[in-house]
Symmetry: C2
Subunit: 548 residues, 2 copies
């Protein structure tokens, strides 16, 4: 007789505690990086997504030094001026895995309602310390605070301490303190890079970061222009599966299939709804609840398949999305690299599986960019910088497959390529949100975006090259002007006057030659700026004279 | 005033339904591949892990053809002769995400108790069909069957139909039928490759696979030798975090810290336990429950840190692990590639974060292997072949960084490298179980394993090369034997006898020269086989004569 297995249930909190690497907490370095990320992303979601100009303060303090045996302990604190968490939601929002405000169709940085809770679990597992949350909403007269742990077996918050204070200012926002084991020394560069790239893409945010060494990294607000915040959308029929349809039908208050189609889905008018229902042979007056009655599973399947495949629905609405915009990308790239040339593009919205997405790309060339064999790739998704797993990302696949020589760019190249994907559903490869899947529609959009800018860059570089050639020509010609002038001057005046008028005459001839050469040359305009050829000619002559 | 967010809870079933790509179900091709994988892995876990020689039958049938709009629907069925699921556990084991027999410290193919449920969710979402399970344990007199759906909002099974039959044979095992949308045409090669590689590493299994086109792939059992099954282990103190310690303390029946240490952990004797407790200043007679009393969190932290960092615990036990073994790997490689040279190695056990692991590697060279620029890499973890995300895997990192020229292997190389990692906790990068993280201890073990075999291969190749050089020498010398023999024969007998005895004499001289040359040559042994130099010399002479 064979031994039998013992079965048991695991809570989602226990699952992520036991498999912490799945959420990005694979070692003390990644853990502290991921903690900062999750807190900062929550802060930005609570501000710019609600039309608040973000002020984010990040601080990391060492609370226990490392020893040979074990990593140091750090307190990570992140404060924002966002919309705050309602007091009755604080405990669950921070103490229950898979409890979130983010399970709606909207472009948010967080997607799984998981990140901060994974950080809290990690903190608990490594230091046993509770998380401390201080929050106030705009409309509240109080500031609320709670200290809590997660009961991992039950996936429930355990309040250790809580209270409230009367608000004396008009502050609103959230501040979270976490204590965890981490490796700051190894994580430092990545964390700073993460914050830098966040500031690059959100120049309307003010970000202050204080390191354990009390260094301050301050990223001031450089513009008050903010992208339009994303808004919540109804589902698009192309993204619907049988289970979602069942859930929608069971929740709907509509009484007919016609109403159901018009009310519950994105941009379906009555005419489209009628045509669609006719095409799948469903009576527009049928009660939608019929679909989930026993014995009607065939009917349910017909509707679900129809929704996913009907060709004449309007494409997913993209006005719900919040791209960064060409201007902000260009500002950011210019500021960060002091680049010689930058250009950004925001593409038209596209969709995959019923989810709208927008690809934006930017290229920076020259300036302070250190030339390397491959372009430096800056990846973003829903305004989050992605720093790990670069080679697994669809953007890397696209950018590394481009033959840059075709764009007149020689190796090593002083080139930065930025790619941003905004979507109500970013196709991440893992819960840690580090790389994007090779969704075909996405891949071709990224390719088109990058190639379009690369073509502009080629134009710029070839203009620059022809300008260089011309400049070289000018220099060559100009160098001979003094010599020619001297010869002409000797020939044009009688030998007895050589001593007195010779020099004067020489100067006059040079003047004439400068005018002639300068006028016959037309320098190409670069970025609308025109250079004065005469200046170039004169400076060459001046140098030649000095050499004599 | 800012709008507030609405919060809600999501069940783990809903989470994976909405984020199906996280479990590997990112498109119809991956979905059907992943479904086969999860079912086959469950079947193998139910057989070889319990000392049953596996018989696994896989079939895929098309139940609805594809149209322009939507993928085809397939029924995937997998049957095994394993230990079966107890009737009272069937509903939860298949209808509740995060309900499993695998949440123990043991080397299993499944790890998360998630895979088959993700497949069932996908099936439900795309076809609405229930999963059908038939199962019987060895000791049961009945065969039980259930048809069920998962209630996604509640994460609970909904039984559609169930029953039992009296068992007329001694069959035990499980058979699962699932209907899902899939892209068989695109998935076909990967699925066949997956099964082939599974058979390679489990030559003791009998696997039959019937495709939708009614092709039969039959992998017969080639050996009855099975690796020792893995067994369940107690936790090693180095892998313990504060939360686990709390859970262990609350469940333990021991009354003193000394007992607690000895009973609840892996291979800690009384002496070690006493020394350890002394080192952290804990009274061996203290009741372990003290650690979770209020106000004692500092004490709890001291013990948790001590457990993780104390140097004198024995390393994690590896006798719980079940490697494949050098013999089976070599058999498998030889069979699959008809290779000229194969060698495998099973390394000593090592540990990371308290989890024991064993690395095994194998190299096949020549034969039917098609030479390519890089070696072909076959990756396995806990006997599962890994086919996707190769470039993200730590094995790929190691193998691609090896300079094969140093091992006398020229490009293109007819080389296959197999890497198997067995562990009670495989550090997968994602829930889809496709690639392994760069855990440092693992990386260096893989490197050592592959390099060790590569050194043997270098020896083989250099022997082979020097044999080739020698052979060329023999051929060169032997070619002259007839000519030399003729000259000697002319010189050694009187001219009047040339006509009669000449030929005879010539033959005798050749005979003598053959013996002399053959004896002065020593061919190197290859794989213990020795060739007869005389044969080579004679065959060369025969050819020279024919040429005349």
């Amino acid at each position: 007789m064979k031994a039998q297995e013992k079965y048991r249930e695991m809570s989602i909190a226990e699952f992520f505690a036991k498999n912490k690497e799945l959420a990005g907490f694979s070692n003390p370095t990644r853990a502290i990086y991921q903690t900062v990320r999750e807190l900062v992303e929550n802060s930005l979601d609570a501000t710019d997504s609600h039309n608040v100009l973000p002020e984010v303060k990040i601080s990391i303090k060492e609370v226990e030094a490392a020893t040979d045996d074990k990593p140091a302990k750090y307190e990570v604190a992140v404060e924002d001026n966002g919309i705050g968490v309602p007091p009755n939601e604080i405990a669950n929002a921070f103490g229950k895995v898979l409890y979130s405000s983010k399970y709606v169709i909207r472009q948010t940085r967080g997607m799984y309602g998981l990140g901060v809770k994974a950080a809290i679990l990690y903190s608990q597992m490594t230091t046993g310390q509770p998380v401390f949350i201080v929050s106030s909403t705009d409309s509240s007269d109080n500031i609320y605070y709670k200290k809590l742990l997660i009961d991992i077996k039950k996936n429930e918050p355990v309040i250790i301490e809580e209270g409230q204070l009367l608000k004396r200012s008009n502050w609103h926002g959230t501040k979270v303190y976490l204590t965890l084991e981490g490796d700051w020394i190894r994580a430092k560069q990545k964390i700073i890079e993460y914050i830098k790239r966040t500031a690059l893409i959100a120049p309307y945010a003010e970000i202050v970061f204080e390191t354990p060494e009390n260094e301050i990294y301050y990223f001031p607000r450089v513009t008050k222009k903010m992208p339009k915040p994303p808004s919540e959308a109804k589902p698009h029929p192309h993204g619907i599966d049988i289970e979602q349809l069942k859930a929608m039908v069971s929740f709907t208050k509509t009484k007919t299939m016609l109403e159901f189609m018009v009310e519950e889905f994105q941009s379906i008018g009555e005419i489209t709804a009628r045509k669609f229902l006719e095409s799948i042979g469903i009576d527009p007056n049928m009660n939608p609840k019929m679909l989930i009655e026993k014995g009607n599973s065939k009917l349910l399947q017909v509707v679900a398949t129809g929704l996913r495949t009907y060709k004449n629905f309007r494409p997913p609405r993209s006005d719900y999305l919040s791209p960064i915009g060409e201007e902000l990308i260009e500002v950011g790239l210019k500021r960060l690299f002091n680049a010689e040339w930058v250009k950004a593009i925001t593409r038209q919205a596209r969709a995959y599986e019923g989810h709208p997405f927008i690809v934006e790309a930017g290229i920076a060339y020259g300036g302070n960019i250190i030339p390397t064999e491959e372009p430096v790739l800056l990846r973003y998704a829903n305004k989050i910088p992605l720093l790990y797993e670069e080679r697994e990302d669809v953007s890397y696949k696209v950018v590394s497959s481009i033959n840059w020589k075709l764009y007149n760019i020689e190796e090593p190249m002083p080139l930065v390529v930025l790619v941003h994907v905004a979507s109500t559903k970013v196709p991440y490869k893992g819960v840690g949100k580090e790389s994007l899947s090779e969704v075909q529609e996405l891949e071709s959009e990224i390719k088109n975006a990058v190639q379009e800018i690369a073509r502009s860059l080629r134009l710029y570089i070839s203009k620059k090259n022809s300008e260089r050639t011309l400049r070289e020509k000018i220099v060559t010609i100009s160098k001979y002007i003094p010599e020619i002038a001297r010869s002409l001057s000797i020939l044009s005046i009688p030998p007895d006057k050589w001593g007195t008028d010779g020099k004067n005459n020489n100067e006059k001839i040079i003047e004439k030659l400068v005018k002639i050469v300068s006028k016959s040359i037309e320098l190409p305009k670069i970025d609308g700026k025109e250079e004065d050829p005469e200046k170039i000619v004169r400076s060459v002559i001046a140098n030649v004279k000095l050499e004599q």
